[in-house]
Symmetry: C2
């Protein structure tokens, strides 16, 4: 059977990994497909200096992506450029040229996924985006096909490997975030500007895509409550352990009677859960279904080769569909908002919270804080004070019984005015439903 | 768009679960597909007494499966009968009638999967079998699509929920296997004749299917070394814990320089691994890839609804392909043996072993046992004796440094002749590569 031809735009980390797999695993890929997947054209700005595996045979090289998209032999365009400017143009041009698209671009798919899919269906081509979320975990295949018959009620994810690496290093070594971040930057695990990771922006794009697939809703990143990990200190892990918990940046999407609640924020989770065992740069997704109950998926969150596997697996699927001549496409995105949304802050769901304070010690502190909590109808559960700190900088923790997010926020805002606090209280939800 | 019509043969546990989901989740299924999945016909021996959800509308009911397979409206036949006799006839007749097949039948697919697929491709219809292995875990979708671009080097699974339930109950409660088994039978977790579960037969069929998909090899259950869990006692867990390990029935398929090693057997695994955290009737699969590295999948191993999700998800996929008119099929099974096999016993790979003895105490026991080990060139690692047992029935454990399976077997066979042993030694491999 005739081969299917691939054009690759972008030979950075993911592009190079993709090429390495297409070359190194070519025989097994052909065996699984029944035909060969041929790299016909590649594009990157410095294409002359990029090593192309020899076993791929002659490959058309260019620095102009238009030449790949317009190449008459190319059946599938792999957009591995990233970002939302040029990448959007590439995808648009590929669809206009009736070429199927495989992309690793979370930002683009989170922002414009439904529109891109509409155009793709109209053009009769396919779009695949497994690599856009949790590189090594085939969570798209799982949601799109594997458990598509289930009605998903909740999805929890650890979707940012950089944050998870930083948090688990703080935990293991009792080292401050700044130290661990600097090391991660030196090792190449974190960007020079770490905002997209640390502030939760990257994880939020990923959650927007996964929640859209899981719940069949039109979801954009701005629907999602977001809080980063910058304020998490080694001390917080010591207190969390004391409470039998650990801290992770949790992406959560929950179907509740009040609507779909979406959030990316650091949370305390019980150490006994499988999710708490996810260490370093790994990613994981926990799915709860109305029928299939709990399932859990774990793997590398990023990296040239794990993400390359996602790209190549998508290329194989799209190639198989091209060969089978199947013209009809079904968008994994919903075209309208079917559910009702409420931002997490006003939601009528309650849970416990962890409040960590740093104070200048003097009499009346606990009275001041507990007075504010009592006025908001929030019940104290425990007060913890590990033997650390000084009179001038004394940390301690209050945990409270299940209460409303808005009540906690109001209480925290009032507390922040108290003159004995060295910084505003840190409030983290305790995710016991996991 | 016109609906796709499903005929369901078999309304036992899985069949009822499937019907419940098709009825209860009909709207979301239609939303995801863009058309309705209609239950047109059902068949079971006592069909008159089976409750059919009213929301399904009029459904043709029969006690004769031939009427479902031959029904002019039926597009897909769901074979949920089990076994390899009638089920094989149903599948064959469906293919002959050019109807696609969805099956939950591990025995049939492990024994005849490649042949069934050959006929299906010839007839231009589809076969789907997600429900045949690890009910709630979409491991077929993962292997077939999600990580199809990877080259899998090893696959470890906990694939029999009954054994895992029994082992984790023995572990938690320090209760003997007989007690836990009797309870499991009363609760309906274990069959009246528990052989298929306890002896590893069920797990072996599942591993045959998964290994075939993962490695692209033609594998039959008889290729797989098999040992059941009947000899595992509470004592073994106490010793395993002492060694920082636990015991699980591990299905393993490993690519080695000597060939593909396949085994189903109880093994010691480190308690720190995620696999060790799999409790009760849950299943899990750990996959190692040359490119994507480690991925892990976890969920319910059985149950009407979790397995029903697998059946319904398969129905949706097949229905989507029917609607898209894609005629070409690719078998997930290889048609020939490409690799080389060696039974696990002669394999040139080494690992540590746990040897547990029960002896009538007298001088010279350790000398006798260690003499046999020394003669086989096996190095002792540790001797453990917990403060239990009596002079007349004294259990203790020897662990040995990495050695060959055949050496251990020869040593164990010789030891079994020693007059102070109350039963043959129990030898379990220590899976530290996990």
């Amino acid at each position: 059977m005739r081969e299917v031809n691939v054009g690759i735009v972008g030979l950075g980390n993911v592009g190079s990994g993709t090429l390495a797999i297409l070359a190194g695993n070519a025989d097994q890929i052909a065996l699984k497909l029944g035909f060969r997947l041929k790299v016909t054209a590649v594009c990157c700005r410095s294409v002359a200096h990029k090593p192309i595996p020899e076993s791929l045979g002659p490959v058309f090289r260019t620095a102009d992506w238009r030449e790949v998209v317009a190449h008459p032999d190319v059946d599938i365009v792999a957009e591995l450029v990233g970002g939302t400017t040029v990448a959007a143009e590439i995808v648009e041009a590929a669809i206009a040229n009736r070429k199927s698209v495989v992309t690793a671009n979370k930002e683009l798919m989170a922002a414009c996924g439904p529109e891109i899919w509409d155009r793709a269906i109209h053009a009769g081509i396919n779009v695949a985006m497994e690599a856009s979320v949790a590189g090594g975990i085939p969570i798209h295949a799982v949601l799109r096909e594997g458990i598509s018959g289930d009605r998903i009620t909740a999805l929890y994810g650890i979707l940012n490997g950089t944050c998870n690496y930083i948090l688990t290093e703080i935990e293991k070594r009792d080292a401050p975030l700044e130290t661990v971040l600097a090391e991660a930057q030196q090792l190449g695990y974190a960007e020079a500007d770490p905002s997209a990771d640390l502030d939760g922006i990257d994880a939020r794009s990923k959650l927007a895509i996964l929640a859209a697939l899981a719940f069949g809703e039109k979801i954009t990143p701005s629907d999602i409550f977001m809080e980063g990990i910058r304020r998490i200190s080694p001390l917080d892990f010591r207190y969390a352990h004391q409470l039998g918990h650990t801290i992770r940046l949790i992406c959560a999407a929950r179907q509740t009677p009040e609507g779909l609640i979406l959030s990316v924020r650091p949370a305390l989770i019980p150490r006994s859960t499988i999710l708490a065992g996810v260490q370093g740069a790994y990613n994981a997704v926990w799915v709860k279904g109305a029928y299939g109950e709990d399932t859990f998926y774990y793997g590398r969150g990023a990296g040239a080769l794990p993400t390359g596997v996602a790209v190549v697996s998508d290329l194989m699927r799209v190639a198989r569909e091209i060969r089978s001549g199947s013209p009809e496409r079904v968008s994994p995105f919903a075209h309208e908002r079917l559910g009702k949304y409420r931002p997490v802050s006003v939601v009528l769901q309650t849970r416990g919270y962890y409040l960590r304070f740093r104070v200048k010690d003097r009499p009346g502190i606990l009275a001041g804080l507990s007075g504010i909590l009592a006025a908001k109808n929030i019940s104290l559960e425990a007060v913890l004070q590990l033997p650390t700190g000084t009179k001038r900088d004394l940390p301690f923790v209050i945990t409270v019984e299940p209460t409303y997010e808005h009540a906690i926020r109001e209480a925290v805002a009032q507390m922040a005015q108290l003159d004995f606090l060295l910084e505003p209280p840190l409030a983290l939800p305790m995710e016991t439903a996991l």
